[in-house]
Structure formats: structure tokens, C-alpha cells
Amino acid sequence: MILQMKGIQKSFDGLEVLKDISLHVDKGEVVSIIGPSGSGKSTLLRCATFLEKIDAGSIDYMGQDAVTTNEHGVAQYVPHQELNRIKRYFGLVFQNFNLFPHYSVLKNIMDAPVTVQKRPKEEVYEEAMRLLKKMNLENRADAYPCQLSGGQQQRVAIARALALNPEILFFDEPTSALDPELTGEVLKVIRQLADEKMTMVIVTHEMPFARAVSSRVVFMDKGVIVEEGHPEAVFGDPTQERTKQFLRNYQQ
């Protein structure tokens, strides 16, 4: 198991956003998270990637505890150094890319492996070029993010995340900041990663994509997981009324 989250609770000044959520992800799985706006999908990803601190529950990656909850029900994170080591297991692709505007495409991809992981430059360069090729961007290595379309920027962001060789990659609505005609090129590379058995958790509003690419779909509403299962089951024959309602609204 790559990721295991148990009993996650998270509130923002009194507002309960995640209510006792448990989620596990096995190696090679592609888990899509769907649900209405405000249901807590982003918050769940942000908790999984330690951008937000959980109030209670536990998170472990590769069997190593990152957060546990003590007998008083208070979440306790492992010491800083250990947490940093665990952080290497995952990557995150943001809705609005968050590329570094002052770095070229190549430097955006190479900088973290070189300065953070201290890997040799030549090796990282080879890898970066290989990733760019995979993203269909091999001729834009020297461009700056502002010179790229949104779809291209998002593919650079994916390459940047992959360059650190994460065990699992999270996506938070990777195509919702893009013009409709650009979503296809990003979904295509994610699909390609799925074919290569990259472990991924994808928050998305692209229902046909989620249905086609996922090994499991999670439907969230109001801070709880309402329904979870094989995409054909969740999309084709949902058991919960809330799921049916949500999917019905989506088709209109």
C-alpha cells in the first residue's frame, strides 16, 4: 500500500470540512475523486500532501507513519526531518500549475532534483529531456512559462513533479484552469501515465475521463465519502441517492 489515510478530520475555524475520511491507495491504482464544489476534495489532497494539517486521524506512506492520533484524539506529526523524507514519496500537480516564472522550462524541471535531491546534473538533464519528450514538449525546453499555453504549462508541471520520481502523484483539477480545447492534451498525458501504472489520485470534474482512466472512483459530498468503487459501478449503477443526483446534474 502506498498511501493510507484513516479517520481524517479537518475543520477551518469551526467549519467541519473533512469528517472522518478514510482513503487508501495501492501501487498502480488510479483513484479519481469526484464531488460537488465545496465537498472537501481539495482539502483532502492538501491534507494528504501536508499543505494543511489534519485535526485528527492518521496518514502513512509506504507503511511509514507521517501523522498519528494520540489517546486524546489529537493529531501528531512525526518530526520535521522524518516528514521531509516521507514527502519525497509524493508529488502534486496544481490546478493553476504554479510553475516558477523566472525559470525556463528545463530549469523548472531540473532545479529540484539538483538542488533538493542533490542528483548529478547530467543525469537529471537526461531525465528532464526524456520527460519533456514524453510530454510532447522537447522543443520548448528553453522557453519561459509565460511563453507557453496553459496546456503546455500544465504538462511542464507534470514533468516537474515526475522528475522527483514520486511513488504517487496527486492532481487537483489539472484541467479546470484550461480552455476546453487544451484539456485534451493534458488528459492524454495523464492517461499515458495510467497506462504505465503510475499511482495517481486525481480530483476532477471530467467525468468521461474519470470513468475511462480510473481503477477506482470516490464520490465525496459535504466532507464524507458517500460512495466508492469501480468506475463502471459508480457511474453506471450508483447505489447512493446523492451520487445519482450528482451524476444526473452533471449530465444536464
Partner: protein, 215 residues
């Protein structure tokens, strides 16, 4: 007195003016960074004290501050330090300008989107790496126009050193104008400040251009 003798007499003043200018920048630019960090401190008390400090620096005349720095040690502690005049000027200018720079830096830093910090954190950059590699270069580009304004103001403000009877260029111009009953020294002074500012604007424009490779 011919024009060339006037120029020669004022030459040393010009040098002193340049010295005040460069030393003030040398100290106030980094000091502003420190003040900015204190202003953004997690500790409320540090924040408040820094806020008051900035308010005083920006809310009182620089001329008055220079007098305080120069005469303060004497009136407060009965100290009279030989050769302190020049130091008082540099301290007064640097401390004052650091407050302005601190606020400019702060504006720049707070304008950097949160996503830049989050991306850096996910990629494993340390706090220091994030600041120096990711945030600061973007801040520098963003605040350059405001810094240029401040630097141009500094060129003109150097004339305030006359308050402490320091013979920078403006003081000399006044003296020569009085003794020669001539208006020419003021014209020379005006031309000097104008050229100096032109040079500053030109240099800053070059830097801005150099950073123009991204938006």
C-alpha cells in the same frame, strides 16, 4: 570667479554627495530586508515595535532625524565624538531609507502568490532555498520601479546633509553663491542633480530590461 574655478571648488562637494548616496544605498538596501523580516515576524510584539519604527521614520522629516542622530548622543549622554558628523549623516540616511525599502520589499513579498510557496514546499525546497531561489528573484523584478523612485529621491535628499553643516555639494553651492553673489553655483548644482538622476534612471532601466526575459 570663473566657471572652471567654481566647478573645481564644488567638485569635492560632488564627491561627498556621491559618497553619501552610495554608502546610504549600501547600508539601507540590506537593512531594509532585516526591517522587513522584523515587520513580518511571527511575534506580535516585534511586529508592533517595527511598525512604530517605520511610522516614525516615514512620519517625521529626515532633516529632524539627522539632527537627532548628530546631537542626540551629546544631549542624551553628554558624549561628544570627534569626526562623528559624517557617521551621523550615514546612519541617519540609512536608517531612514531602510524603513522605506522595508515597506517596498514587504509589498513585493506579499504580492507573490501563495502557490509559489506551496509548489516549492511540495518539491522539497527548504525555507531558505524557497526564499532565495524562488521568491526573492521575483520580488526584485516586481519592486524595481518603486526602488528606482526611492533612489531618485535619495539623490535629491543628499542635500539635506547641509543641516549638519557637512560640505556636500549643495552646501558648497550655497556658500559660493553667497560669497560671489552669483546664481551660477545653483545652476551647476541643479545640473549635477539632474545628471545624477538621469544616470540612476538609466542604470535602473538597464536592470529592468535585463529582467525582462519573463513576465
Amino acid at each position: 570667479m570663473s566657471l572652471s574655478t567654481m566647478l573645481a571648488a564644488m567638485g569635492e562637494g560632488m564627491l561627498r554627495t556621491c559618497l553619501i548616496f552610495f554608502l546610504t544605498l549600501l547600508f539601507s538596501l540590506p537593512l531594509g530586508m532585516v526591517v522587513m523580516f522584523l515587520r513580518r515576524s511571527r511575534f506580535r510584539i516585534v511586529q508592533s515595535i517595527t511598525k512604530i519604527y517605520i511610522a516614525i521614520m516615514r512620519g517625521t522629516p529626515l532633516m529632524l532625524q539627522l539632527l537627532m542622530w548628530y546631537f542626540g548622543p551629546y544631549y542624551l549622554f553628554g558624549m561628544s565624538i570627534r569626526g562623528y558628523r559624517f557617521a551621523a549623516i550615514i546612519i541617519g540616511f540609512s536608517v531612514n531609507y531602510s524603513a522605506y525599502f522595508a515597506e517596498i520589499y514587504r509589498g513585493g513579498i506579499e504580492a507573490i502568490p501563495k502557490g509559489q510557496y506551496e509548489a516549492a514546499e511540495i518539491l522539497g525546497y527548504s525555507k531558505a532555498q524557497t526564499f532565495f531561489k524562488i521568491i526573492l528573484p521575483q520580488v526584485v523584478k516586481m519592486i524595481l520601479p518603486s526602488v528606482t523612485n526611492e533612489v531618485i529621491t535619495l539623490v535629491k535628499d543628499t542635500s539635506l546633509a547641509f543641516t549638519l553643516a557637512y560640505n556636500e555639494m549643495f552646501s558648497l553651492a550655497k556658500q559660493i553663491a553667497a560669497s560671489q553673489t552669483s546664481f551660477v553655483p545653483f545652476v551647476i548644482a541643479g545640473v549635477f542633480y539632474f545628471i545624477a538622476n538621469y544616470a540612476v534612471a538609466y542604470a535602473m532601466e538597464r536592470i529592468e530590461k535585463a529582467l525582462d526575459y519573463y513576465n
